[in-house]
Amino acid sequence: MSVLSGHTADTADLGDDRFSWATWLKSHPNVIRVASVVVFFFAWQYLARDSNPLFMTYPTAVFKAAWQLTLDGELQQALMESMVPFSVGLAIAIVGGILLGIAIGQSWLLEYTLDPFINALYAIPRVALIPLIILWAGLETNGKIVIVASIAIFPVIVNTYSGIKDVRGSLIEIGRAYSASEFQIFTKIVLPASVPYIMAGIRLAVGLAIIGEITSEFFTAVTGLGGLIVLFANNFATAKVFVPIIITGVLGVALTESVALIERRLSRWRISERERF
């Protein structure tokens, strides 16, 4: 046996054990994400520090503005004015969307009765309805709630409906073969099988609800984070404009990610099923 070769039939060379940065980074994507954001802020600071404050601003100025707005209490107030109608509107959209989606998914009569309206409302850019909604429901919290709910409800309806329609006949046959009642088939087979779809609908609804909230505040231009954006932009307070924009972005990412987390947890069976077949 050769001493130099060191390989026998029982051992296999499984590749280098040497540390590789590329492999390590690939398996730690958050490191790159954080680094990318940090570099972005440094570059922004460096490039924009001498610009005209009417047109451009830079991170430390935005931070200072945020601090000032917090001390004044203006920011907290706007956040409340936005978050209350946002949460209520989103909750209405989720509950109402699931119930409507179930209703049209279960009853052909309701489906054919309602789907012209749902399709028409889906096709019209919902922003086009905002002036009308404001006319009917007012500029304040109620109006915002209606706008948020009416924009965010559609993906929930459509996804719940598709989830219910997509349940495989073979799953329902299991229920029938074991003498399940129609109600049991619905609650124990159809509904749980639709959960991944419904969660995806909710995730989309969160994004749309944020758009609805800010847009409605643009129209009313009095309250909330959207109201602050319009106010500061009209006064050319560019550093301040960025504060509500960044807060909205952070909120959006945080909310969407938390829904995505729940979604992944509830849909684990579906993902591994997909990988299998």
């Binding site: 299991i174 073969a177 074991y178 579906r270």
Partner: protein, 259 residues
Amino acid sequence: MLKVSRVYKFFKARDSSERGVRAMKVLDDISLDVGRGEFISLLGASGCGKTTLLRIMAGLLRPDRGSVHVNEQPVQAPRRDVCMVFQNFGLLPWRSVLSNAAFPLELDGVNRGKRESIAAEYLGLVGLSGFERHFPHELSGGMQQRVGIARALVRKPLILLMDEPFAALDAQTREKLQEDFLAIWNQLKTTVVFVTHAIDEALVLSDRIVVLSSRPGRVDRVIDSPVSQYRIGGDVRARLEFAEQAHDIRELLRSERTA
């Protein structure tokens, strides 16, 4: 016990010559008597209507003529004491193994503690103790079908209807499951109607084999398995009678295919 009397079933099929639909005969005058504790196989090529016949026995389909009786009662809808094992296992993927096995009892309104202890008992019987908290996608096909069998047994059924339950498995797993299932059947003595297209599977498992002809499905011959008394704990495939009978059935199915 289970009595199938003069059952006919037609399906709608598109006519090739004319525009429109015509009735295609799928089952042609099927009569069958299954005794208590008997293991009977329905053997035939794919498309011979054996699964349709099983679904009629299960009450999932209504025959167009004729009737099915269980213990002298006509079958109109699925019965709680006639349980089904599916070809593709038919587990609910979002439920754990234990909750899948307990599913029929859950439908019956049995409380959680009781149904889970019964389910765990039958999971033990099929050799799945320790897998109660797993999910179907974490199990191999053979293990998934073991869950399917446990689920069918939790109601202590009078009759077990099995629709090609081992057809989706690889050969080794299939033989292992046949052997284990025979041992379970020998212990419980449940009446079994087993649909299969595999001659050796029918011979290894059953007391009687009902050979169905194709299009329309018709009872071609009913064969008493020559090896049924040796099937528990022995390798019946090694016996001469097994080979002879398998040969006869193969010839029978072949002649009928060319006809």
